[in-house]
Amino acid sequence: METFFLLLGGFADVLHPGNLAYALIGCVLGTLIGVLPGIGPAAGTAILIPVTATLDPTGSIIMLAAIYYGAMYGGTITSVLINTPGEAASAVTCLDGYAMAKQGRAGPALSIAAIGSFIGGTIATIGLVFLALPLTRLALTFGPPEIFSLLLIGLVLVTSLASQSILRALMAAAIGLLLAQVGIDPIMGMQRFTFGQLELMDGLAIVPVVMGLFGISEILLSIERPLTNMFAPPVGSLFLSKQDVRRSAGPVARGTLIGFALGLIPGLGSMIPAFLSYAVERRISKRPGEFGKGAIEGVAGPETANNAYANAALIPLFTLGIPGSPTTAILMGAFMINGLVPGPTLFVEHAEFVWAVIASLVVGNVILLILNLPLIPLWVAMLRIPYSIMVVIVLAFCVVGAYSLNNQPFDIGVMLVFGVFGYLLKKVDIPTAPLILTMILGPLLESALRQSLEMSGGDFMIFFTRPLATTLIVLAAVVLLSSSLNVFRRVKVDSEV
């Protein structure tokens, strides 16, 4: 009952015209980011942080969250219409979505994607409502050893699933942790790796780093080949037939379940729920031969799983302070810019804020459903804009975003350095998702480790005398070991970018 009243208070806040407008603008901008190939949700969310700079914290996070799940839906449009996923999670939708478009059924494919996304996203948010308080109460009992173990298992999961090679993923994680060392030591106040630069005293700012790693590097990768313009087929009628509805009901239900369950595990990335949903639907289908040739189940399941995952991935962020993907890591950075620390204390110290954001997820999903279907012709028109013009607009936003963070050109330099660095990392198949997550979690991990060792007088056995910490560390070791045994595996599972 307590949860219900808190949520009602959240709805009262979010239905305030100002916050409603932020959710609406966020959904439109997010869908636009998802539609434009080459700008993933992480870079898009980071680029648009300055747009929210002057808003109050509630409005700012409502808008950024709307950009996040708007982008998850927007990626579907290009997957269906031009066989190019706007973001990684929509890659699987190309298989049947594009096949449906070639048959003149792009409209029903986009409709079921929007409806499935709405159902998956809304149910995952309801799950967040019910899990938030119990998980928060549990997390409030954690001491530094438990926090360290929890962060460790999160990082191990991110790393072990991020690349075809565990070695390269571990290297990315180690590089991210080392980058997190730049700045003033959090406990003794000594300078580390600042090279005498005043701008590095506070450490590397996360926004220009993300813009570089995920935005500039993608632009560099796209423009090294000749630029081509895209042509989208006609969308046709958006209405679903009775048969479409009957065939989609099961995949939507199963997609919700898969997306929600996997969203609770930090670091999986949104591709895995989408691919798993596709595999499940194909396995249990009475018509497996139709998959890849325009089966509506192949769109309904993955798209639902993708958005259920996007909303459920906010549960570890809100309750435990652990971001599960680069985009939720950016959201975590945005929380911090607004003076809020995600985690259990957020529900205690800023309850009004956090419940308004949760209520905004429900409202945002409704906005996406109402808004996106009628606006599909607009998104199709956007696809006709030449890529060179897109590059100019994205660069202009990147410069504003990097500069306005601290009002110093130094951050534009940081963005450029990490853009080139991200480009090179992608060329040598080193994943960037573990790097950014470890860079954000590095200071927390180090503080928890050092506080634990101070508690025990330097004895590492402290991690093996507390049941939860021991369990999580053993689990992390098992995950790492099982991934290492598959060190030469061929299955590539990219994390969400």
Binding site: L177, I393, S404, N407, P409, I430, R450
Partner: protein
């Protein structure tokens, strides 16, 4: 260049970088009477990175997978036109960082946009001027006047009529 050579070079570069970082980390306090010092974490991380780079080198050099890599061409370097397009973005951003506070956001970004559009193959002068203006003065106007995000002003900003930009 083969993928094998690319991975080997990458491993060596990361190994050298990790040794330099290790040297820097050893200059910090590793342990203090209160517990682990500022150098504790970096020393371990740099050591782990060095070990991982050695393992990657070995993985890319010996065994069945290494033989496969040796037969695969690395898609690392773009063609000449691609390199020109690639070079223009870093150069434009360096220019933006250098001139932003000297010439102001609008003028700096206008010039940068013209250069980028031209380098990426846009030849229609009207399109270049229109897009460069939207991507510079247009964005400056939106951020400065609607979103209250201060950007470095330029001489052109003063030409904006007061009914549009205020006093």
């Amino acid at each position: 260049m083969t993928t094998q050579r690319l991975y080997q070079i990458t491993s060596v570069v990361i190994f050298v970088a990790s040794l330099l970082l290790l040297r820097g980390a050893l200059e910090l306090h590793y342990y203090t009477p209160m517990g682990p010092g500022p150098g504790f974490f970096p020393v371990w991380l740099a050591s782990i990175l060095a070990i991982l780079s050695v393992l990657t080198f070995l993985q890319a050099t010996f065994g069945e997978w290494a033989r496969e890599l040796a037969q695969t061409g690395a898609d690392f370097v773009a063609d000449r036109e691609g390199l020109v397009r690639l070079a223009v973005i870093p150069l434009a951003l360096i220019g933006a960082a250098f001139f932003l506070e000297r010439a102001g956001y609008g003028i700096t970004m206008f010039v940068m946009n013209v250069v980028v559009l031209w380098a990426l193959g846009t030849r229609n002068i009207l399109t270049i001027i229109l897009v460069a203006t939207i991507g510079s003065f247009g964005i400056e106007y939106v951020f400065s006047h609607w979103l209250n995000v201060p950007l470095p002003p330029d001489d052109v900003s003063g030409l904006c009529p007061s009914w549009l930009c205020g006093a």
